[in-house]
């Protein structure tokens, strides 16, 4: 992946309720609700600049092998993109 993967958009408000994370798009119209692992992808992607660093960063958080979580990370990024939470 990742030449086409966008970066997290700025000014996203985040609120947590019982391990679910609510991301409010700055346009006010879109909300994503993430579980803990999807939110970890969001958080780490905000700090690193390439996909491999993202995969390894998330893997380290959960004590998993990078290869095991790569598809889930990719799917999470796709989901962020679909909902307009990434930008070029």
């Amino acid at each position: 992946m990742n030449g086409n993967t966008g970066r997290p958009i700025p000014n996203v408000a985040v609120t947590e309720v019982d391990d679910r994370f609510f991301l409010l798009h700055p346009d006010g119209a879109r909300v994503m609700v993430l579980n803990e692992s999807a939110y970890a992808v969001w958080e780490v992607w905000d700090r690193v600049t390439d996909f491999e660093s993202l995969v390894h960063g998330v893997a380290a958080l959960f004590g998993k092998a990078a290869e095991d979580i790569r598809p889930d990370v990719q799917a999470a990024l796709q989901d962020f993109s679909t909902h307009g939470f990434l930008q070029d």
Binding site: A13, V17, D18, G28
Partner: protein
């Protein structure tokens, strides 16, 4: 209008209802009793029902809005018109939901039109619950429930099934709430439970607890004004979600709902 007008304050909307006929004014008073207010010098909206040309004309701010042979048939339109304007202009967060209180516990049934909110509320009220709203869960910025006890609107068949009588036509009747316990419009209350209605023919009534976060998800999904202040809407719904418990109620008929709701409220209230 003048002396024949009845003044209401509905979620801050100042309404003047008028009619030249005493029976109509009495019906207004019965339907909108919780909202009766001191007349405003300049109401936000004026509605009137008067006999004309062998029938009855409903007008809103001097424009004709409906004509029927019986004035009772126009009352559901009056309720709808006031509701639309009141929720459009109110300053608080609002979501489509039926709301009742059992003891100190406020229970909300969020959902789209047709999911059974009004019927569930009417069944609970018929069984002794305190009426809060059959239309909207209204929340202050602090997450407190603001009562919105508009007339309960049901199909005539369902009203009859629940042993209630209303005023309306063959499609919808408005039930006066003057004779049932109503959470006072001057108070606020704490939302304790959010119940998602899942009516399944033949099912035994069953409550299944859901993650608390589902409260915020369903309140945002059913909100009609979150777009005005999205951050505020997220703040208030997640604040509520942190303390309210969320349930799915699978049930067969409206008569199943009150017992389930009482079961939720029992730990925090004496019978």
């Amino acid at each position: 209008m003048g002396a024949q007008a009845i003044a209401l304050d509905v979620l801050g909307l100042r309404v003047a209802l008028s009619s030249s006929t005493a029976d109509v004014r009495e019906a207004y008073t019965a339907l909108f009793e919780p909202f009766l207010a001191v007349p405003a010098a300049a109401p936000d909206v004026r509605l009137g029902l008067d006999p004309v040309d062998g029938g009855w004309q409903l007008w809103v701010d001097d424009a004709g809005r409906g004509f029927r042979t019986e004035w009772r048939e126009l009352l559901p339109i009056v309720v709808t018109e006031i509701n639309r304007r009141a929720v459009d202009q109110m300053a608080w967060f609002g979501a489509h939901a039926g709301v009742v209180a059992v003891g100190r516990a406020v229970v909300a049934f969020p959902g789209e039109s047709g999911v059974g909110k009004s019927t569930a509320v009417a069944a609970c009220v018929a069984a002794g619950a305190t009426y809060v709203s059959d239309e909207a869960l209204v929340l202050t910025p602090e997450g407190r429930v603001v009562p919105y006890p508009r007339p309960i609107c049901l199909s005539p068949g369902m009203a009859s099934r629940l042993g209630m009588t209303g005023i309306g036509d063959t499609e919808e009747v408005a039930l006066a709430v003057a004779d049932v316990p109503v959470l006072s419009t001057g108070e606020t209350a704490s939302l304790e439970h959010v119940v998602l209605l899942n009516r399944v023919a033949g099912a035994a009534a069953r409550l299944t607890e859901l993650p608390r976060a589902d409260t915020a998800i369903h309140l945002l999904r059913n909100s009609f004004n979150h777009y005005r202040d999205p951050a505020g809407a997220l703040r208030v719904t997640t604040a509520v979600a942190r303390r309210a418990r969320c349930w799915e109620l699978t049930y067969d008929g409206p008569e199943d709902v009150p017992a389930s709701v009482r079961g939720l409220a029992r730990p925090s209230m004496p019978e």
